[in-house]
């Protein structure tokens, strides 16, 4: 049930004179993989799914599924299924008949469609709840039914449009686990849209960052974290430290001092970025010394902002690293974690 999806030059302009919602997107989703499209609201990420599903027509560009051009193919004949942020369970059907819907509209006898629906409900951990009406389900259960309903359609590509955003944190964790399990069992091709970098990291093999309708960067999560192509990608993935300076002979010069870079970087102006979780308190030699200006906590981990010569350096320390505001601390910025983003002209 997994197909290979390829988007080429996909462009959508909603109205004359308006900037394109999506601008020349090239994206490949290999069979059985999960690609997350990550972007802030209004970045055009939902448009990607609507064009793929055939709910909107692209202004330019094409959608290929297993090599076949889907231009002009109506949504019901594309072999894709979509799960929206709202569960959208048909209120006049039971949970089981919702899941059986795809089989029913394709002409399967009711008994067989229901038997298969029961299997899919079992798969999402809702065995025995088939007779419930949608209004009798919790929001987490509703979204599980929606997922089962989409899977029961046996799509070649499963499209997930922020499917877990409306759920509270523990439920979202549960759904992430469920999706990881389902991927291990069924290996569907998944195109996921989300604004949450943690969700993208938890679920996807590769992440495509979209901003203002344009693809900024596409790669494995680790690569996006370690080597963001732009400041906006860095920020979207939770990067906070940004140090403007000059690169000369593989060394970044800034108010923080001269910091050697891990790989070859062209000379010229560049912004040094270091992820907060890579920064640690220095036991001996410190790369940077500064004054703690703010401490807050994520769980047990202190999130510290250090003012070093007028530059803010953000660090996510390990539990037990007790620092207080006003203290002078030395920080280690591991060479491998240093990355320079070129300054775009203009």
């Amino acid at each position: 049930m997994s197909g290979e999806l390829r988007l080429t030059g996909l462009t959508r302009v909603h109205g004359r004179g308006r900037p394109p919602a999506l601008d020349g997107l090239d994206l490949a989703v290999p069979a059985g993989s999960c690609v997350a499209v990550l972007g802030p609201s209004g970045s055009g990420k939902s448009t990607v799914l609507r064009l793929t599903a055939g709910l909107d027509e692209p202004t330019r560009g094409s959608v290929h599924l297993d090599g076949r051009d889907l231009a002009g193919v109506p949504p019901e004949r594309r072999g894709v299924a979509m799960v929206f942020q709202r569960p959208l369970l048909f209120p006049h059907l039971s949970a089981r008949d919702n899941v059986a819907y795809a089989d029913r509209v394709r002409g399967a006898p009711r008994r067989r469609a229901r038997a298969r629906a029961a299997e899919f409900l079992d798969l999402v951990g809702l065995a025995g709840l088939g007779d419930r009406a949608p209004r009798e389900l919790s929001s987490g259960q509703e979204q599980r039914v929606a997922l089962a309903r989409a899977l029961a359609a046996e799509p070649r590509v499963l499209l997930l449009d922020e499917p877990f955003s409306a759920l509270d944190a523990p439920l979202r964790e549960e759904m992430h686990e469920l999706l990881v399990d389902l991927r291990a069992r069924l290996a569907p091709t998944v195109l996921l849209v989300t604004h949450d970098p943690a969700e993208a990291a938890a679920l996807a093999d590769t992440v495509a960052v979209l901003e203002a309708g344009r693809l900024q960067q596409h790669g494995p999560v680790a690569e996006l974290h370690a080597r963001p192509a732009s400041l906006s990608v860095s920020r979207l993935l939770g990067g906070r430290t940004e140090v403007p300076g000059q690169v000369r002979a593989g060394v970044h010069h800034s108010p923080l001092g001269a910091l050697a870079l891990p790989g070859p970087v062209a000379d010229g102006p560049g912004v040094l970025v270091v992820r907060p979780e890579a920064v640690a308190l220095a036991a001996g030699h410190a790369d940077v010394t500064g004054t703690v200006v703010r401490v807050r906590y994520r769980g047990l981990r202190p999130l510290v902002t250090v003012d070093a010569g007028g530059v803010a350096v953000h660090a996510e320390l390990t539990p037990g690293d007790d620092v207080v505001a006003g203290a002078v601390v030395g920080l280690r910025l591991p060479v491998a974690a240093r990355h320079v983003v070129p300054v775009r002209p203009g």
């Binding site: 599903a53 055939g54 709910l55 109506p74 949504p75 019901e76 004949r77 594309r78 894709v80 299924a81 979509m82 929206f84 709202r86 959208l88 048909f90 209120p91 006049h92 819907y101 795809a102 029913r104 509209v105 394709r106 009406a133 949608p134 209004r135 309903r149 989409a150 359609a153 799509p155 499209l159």
Partner: protein, 273 residues
């Protein structure tokens, strides 16, 4: 009933009392006119000064049967049903065009659709009667046609509101699950709209059921429905009992229908959280 509701029930506040009083007045307003009607229907003799009928009996019923009440009842039912069957889908189409497809100048289109509400039916019926006669449209078909147009504003308004409130996501979800537009209409949209469709059909039925002017003028007196029969009976004197029986016959079926229509409506509303 929530906490607040229970507290209010235990010690009715002023607002609650006012609400109850309002409801009682409203109920009296609706029910009181039926009381003399009920009394007249079973009164064989009820002369002026007496508060209650002096003699009870079934003369009214007998006269109503003799005057062709059952046939008129059947004709009214058929007329109401025909108008409902035509005006409901037409209203649904108009509503969908207004809500979904963004017709050019929707305000003007809506104004045209609502115009039957504004124009005096007598003038419309008289004018169109001439046209229908010239076109040799059979009288009964002409009545159905005109009343369907008269019912369109009601069905359009009801269905437009329901469609506007409906989440288009249901339709899109069904399409990606493999349903053709026709299957979406049958399996998703119509069931979701069922309460509104029932309400619209009920209103359209009432337009046909209760019409007098169009049926009289365009029907040329050949289509004798309940309102026509009541009108002719009431214009004569001395047969109040018959008029009362016929009037009750005209009032009770819509009430029964209303109860029927109200049931799916409530069930669907209960489904929303």
């Amino acid at each position: 009933m929530g906490l607040i509701g229970r507290r209010a029930a235990a010690r009715p506040g002023r607002a609650v009392l006012a609400t109850r009083l309002g409801r009682a007045v409203l109920a009296a307003w609706l029910v009181l006119p039926l009381v003399p009607l009920l009394l007249w229907a079973v009164a064989d003799r009820w002369s002026a000064p007496a508060v209650l009928p002096q003699e009870l009996g079934t003369d009214g019923l007998r006269d109503a049967l003799a005057a062709g009440g059952p046939a008129a009842l059947a004709r009214s039912t058929a007329l109401g049903a025909a108008v409902a069957v035509l005006a409901t889908p037409l209203g649904a189409l108009a509503a969908r065009a207004l809500v979904v497809h963004r017709v050019p100048r929707p305000g003007a289109v809506l104004a045209v659709l609502l115009s039957p509400l504004v124009l005096p039916p007598f003038a419309v019926a008289l004018g169109l009667d001439v046209l229908l006669l010239r076109l040799r449209v059979p009288a009964t078909a002409g009545v159905v046609l005109l009343l369907t147009v008269a019912a369109l504003p009601y069905t359009t308004i009801v269905l437009r509101a329901a469609l506007a409130a409906q989440d288009r996501g249901f339709e899109e979800e069904a399409r990606t699950l493999g349903a053709t537009p026709w299957q979406v209409l049958r399996g998703v949209q119509v069931p979701l709209l069922a309460p509104a469709l029932a309400g619209a059909a009920f209103l359209a039925f009432l337009v046909g059921w209760s019409d007098y002017v169009v049926t009289l003028l365009v029907g040329g007196g050949r289509l004798v429905t309940l309102p026509l029969l009541i009108g002719s009976a009431a214009s004569a004197t001395g047969n109040e009992a018959q008029v009362a029986v016929l009037s009750l016959t005209a009032v009770l079926p819509p009430l029964a229908l209303l109860a029927l229509v109200g049931v799916p409506g409530r069930r669907a509303r209960g489904g929303r959280r």
